[in-house]
C-alpha cells in the first residue's frame, strides 16, 4: 500500500509535474546559482542556477521512461528465450543456457558498465547494458517455470487432449507465469532505476544537460561538503522512493501470488 502510494506520487510528478511547475529545467540563472530550497525553488538551484525541482521532474520522466523500456525489453527478450529454451530443449537450450551463465558470471552492475563503456556513454548504451544484465534473470525464471509447468497435471491433461506446444504455451503455461513475470518485472524495474543511476554516477549515463538523477547526484557530490546538500539529496531521494516503492509492490505481488519465493535480483 505504501509502495503504491509512493509509486503513484512519483509517477504523478513525472507526468504532471511540468504542468504544475512550468519552470524550464534548462534555464540558467547564473547569479541565482546554489540557492537553498525556498518557496521559489522548492529544491534549490544548482551550480548554474537551474531550478533543481524542475530538473527533478524531468529526471523522473527520464528515469521512469528508460526503466520501463528496459523492463519491457528485458522481459520480452529474456522471457522469449527462456520459453523457447524450456520448450525446445536440446542444443538450443544448452547454448542459450551457457551464454546466460556467462552473462551471469558478471556482477550485474559491472556488466551494465562494460556494455555502456563498449558502446560509448549515453542513455541508449546504458539502457542496453541494463537490459543485458536483466535478460538472464528472466531467462532462468521463464525456463524453470516452463519446465515446472510442463509437468503439471493440467498441462499434461491438455497434452493428453492433443494440444500443440504452441497451444500449451499460449493457454496453459504463459498465463500461469504472468504473476511471476510481473513480480520479476517490478524487481527489474527497481534494479534498472538503481543501475541507471549508478551508471550516471560513474559518468556512463545520459548526456547533459538532460537531467538524470544519477548524474545529478554526481554533480551534487562536489557540493555536498560545501553546504549545498540539495543538489545531490533530492535526486537521490527520487531514486530511493522509486526503487523502494517498486520493490514494495513486487513484494506485495509476491505475497499474493507466490508467497514462497524470496528476493531475486539485487544491485
Amino acid at each position: 500500500m505504501v509502495g503504491v502510494v509512493m509509486f503513484a506520487i512519483i509517477i504523478f510528478i513525472a507526468v504532471f509535474g511540468r504542468l504544475l511547475w512550468p519552470v524550464d529545467p534548462l534555464r540558467v540563472d547564473i547569479l541565482g546559482s546554489l540557492l537553498p530550497p525556498s518557496l521559489e525553488h522548492p529544491m534549490g538551484t544548482d551550480d548554474v542556477g537551474r531550478d533543481v525541482f524542475a530538473r527533478f521532474i524531468q529526471g523522473a520522466q527520464v528515469s521512469i521512461g528508460v526503466a520501463i523500456g528496459v523492463t519491457i525489453a528485458g522481459t520480452l527478450i529474456g522471457g522469449t528465450l527462456g520459453l523457447l529454451a524450456g520448450l525446445v530443449g536440446g542444443w538450443f537450450d544448452t547454448i542459450v543456457s551457457r551464454t546466460m551463465d556467462a552473462i551471469l558470471a558478471f556482477p550485474p552492475l559491472i556488466l551494465a558498465m562494460a556494455v555502456a563503456i563498449g558502446l560509448g556513454p549515453g542513455i541508449v548504451s546504458a539502457a542496453l547494458g541494463v537490459i543485458l544484465a536483466a535478460i538472464p534473470w528472466y531467462f532462468r525464471l521463464l525456463r524453470s517455470e516452463v519446465l515446472r509447468l510442463r509437468t503439471l497435471m493440467y498441462v499434461e491433461s491438455a497434452q493428453a487432449l492433443g494440444a500443440s506446444s504452441f497451444r500449451l504455451i499460449r493457454l496453459h503455461i504463459l498465463p500461469q507465469t504472468t504473476s511471476t513475470i510481473f513480480i520479476q518485472a517490478s524487481s527489474v524495474f527497481s534494479f534498472s532505476i538503481l543501475t541507471l543511476a549508478a551508471l550516471g554516477f560513474v559518468g556512463l549515463g545520459i548526456q547533459p544537460p538532460t537531467p538524470e538523477w544519477g548524474t545529478m547526484i554526481t554533480e551534487g557530490l562536489a557540493y555536498a561538503l560545501t553546504g549545498q546538500w540539495w543538489l545531490g539529496f533530492f535526486p537521490g531521494l527520487g531514486i530511493f522512493m522509486l526503487a523502494v516503492s517498486a520493490n514494495l509492490i513486487a513484494d506485495r505481488l509476491r505475497d499474493i501470488y507466490d508467497p514462497k519465493s524470496g528476493a531475486r535480483l539485487s544491485l
Binding site: I110, K260, A263, S266
Partner: protein, 333 residues
C-alpha cells in the same frame, strides 16, 4: 564428492571462458583507438601507427583475444596508460584495500542480517517483523552512493563522529596481509586497529546496507518456509524448547540458502565497490576502475571485468563446495 567437485570446476572454467569472450567483445567495440591515448596529444600518425602495432591492435580480433587470454593467465594483464604501470601490479596494490572493505561490509551485512532476522522471527512480533521488512526494503532501495553521501553529510559533516572521505587512514608500520585492521592486530597496535576500523566503518556500512536488506528478505522468507515445515511441528511434539527449535533446527535449515546468496554478495563486494569507494576515496579497485573508465584506460577496465567474473565464479564454486559440505543432502548424494 570428487565427481561433484570436478563437474563444478569444469563448468566454472567453461563459464569463465564464455565470460572472457563476452568481456573482450564488448570492450573491443570501443570506438576510440587506445594507441592515440598512449601516444599523447602531440603525436603524429606515424607514432600512433607504431603504438598500434606494438599493442597488437592491427591483428584480427580472434588473434587479439587469444593473445589476451594467454597473457592474462600468464600474469600479463596489460599496461595501464593512465598510470604508466602494468595493470596487474596496480590491481595487486589495490586489492587489499578493496578486500578489507568488502570483508567488513560483508560481515556487517551477513552477521547483522542473520542476527536481526533470526531474533525478530524468534520473538514472533508482528510489529517488529513489519519494521524489519520495511527496513529491508529501504536498504535494498537506497542507491549505495547516495547513502554514502548522506552518511558523510550526517556522521562526518554534522556530527563529526567518523572521519571524512580520506581513504583508509594511516597505514600500519609493517605489512603482512595488506588489511590494515589485521596488520595492526598482528603488530599489537590496538589504537591503530581502532583508527583503521573507524575509517572503515562508514564506507563498510554504506556498502553493507543493500546486501543486508537483501539477506534479510531472503533469510526471512526461508525462515517462514521452514517454520511451516512439518518437522518443526514434530520438534514441538517432542517437547523441544522454542529456543532450541529455532536456533538448532530452523536456523541451520534456513541458513543454507542464505549461504549461497552470501557468497554471491561477497564475490560482488570483493570485485570492488565501484560506487562507494569513489565517494570515500578508498584506494581500492573500484576507484581504479572509475578512473579507468573516465580516462578510457581499457586495459584496466578489461582486467577488472575479467577479475570480477573470475572472483564471482570462484566464490560461487567455493560456496557450492562449502554447501555440499554443510548440507547432508548434497554431501552424501
Amino acid at each position: 564428492m570428487i565427481n561433484f567437485l570436478l563437474a563444478r570446476i569444469g563448468s566454472a572454467i567453461i563459464t569463465i571462458f564464455g565470460a572472457s569472450i563476452l568481456a573482450f567483445v564488448i570492450l573491443r567495440a570501443v570506438p576510440t583507438n587506445p594507441a592515440r591515448l598512449i601516444a599523447g596529444p602531440f603525436a603524429n600518425d606515424e607514432v600512433i601507427a607504431q603504438v598500434t602495432s606494438q599493442l597488437g591492435l592491427d591483428k584480427p580480433l580472434f588473434v587479439q583475444y587469444f593473445d589476451y587470454i594467454v597473457s592474462f593467465f600468464a600474469g600479463d594483464w596489460g599496461f595501464s596508460y593512465s598510470a604508466g604501470q602494468p595493470v596487474l601490479s596496480q590491481i595487486v596494490q589495490r586489492l587489499p584495500a578493496s578486500a578489507e572493505l568488502a570483508l567488513y561490509a560483508f560481515l556487517f551485512a551477513f552477521i547483522g542480517a542473520v542476527f536481526v532476522t533470526v531474533l525478530v522471527s524468534f520473538l514472533a512480533s508482528k510489529w517488529l517483523d513489519r519494521l524489519l521488512r520495511l527496513l529491508s526494503f529501504i536498504s535494498v532501495g537506497v542507491p549505495p552512493f547516495w547513502l554514502a553521501l548522506l552518511f558523510l553529510m550526517v556522521f562526518f559533516e554534522q556530527l563529526g563522529w567518523f572521519p571524512g572521505p580520506v581513504g583508509r587512514g594511516p597505514a600500519p608500520g609493517s605489512v603482512h596481509t595488506g588489511l590494515f585492521t589485521i596488520d595492526y592486530l598482528i603488530a599489537g597496535n590496538f589504537s591503530g586497529f581502532a583508527t583503521a576500523l573507524h575509517h572503515l566503518a562508514l564506507p563498510a556500512l554504506a556498502l553493507a546496507l543493500g546486501p543486508f536488506g537483501y539477506l534479510v528478505r531472503l533469510l526471512r522468507a526461508n525462515l517462514l518456509d521452514i517454520v511451516n515445515e512439518p518437522f518443526v511441528t514434530v520438534l514441538h511434539a517432542k517437547g523441544v524448547a522454542p529456543v532450541s527449535t529455532h536456533f538448532q533446527h530452523i536456523l541451520p535449515n534456513a541458513f543454507l540458502p542464505t549461504l549461497t546468496a552470501g557468497g554471491l554478495i561477497l564475490a560482488q563486494l570483493l570485485g570492488g565497490s565501484v560506487l562507494v569507494e569513489r565517494i570515500f576515496v578508498w584506494p581500492g579497485i573500484g576507484t581504479l576502475v572509475i578512473d579507468g573508465i573516465l580516462r578510457q584506460d581499457y586495459a584496466v577496465v578489461q582486467a577488472f571485468i575479467m577479475l570480477s567474473a573470475i572472483i564471482y565464479i570462484g566464490v560461487n564454486l567455493l560456496v557450492d563446495i562449502l554447501y555440499g559440505y554443510v548440507d547432508p543432502r548434497v554431501r552424501r548424494s
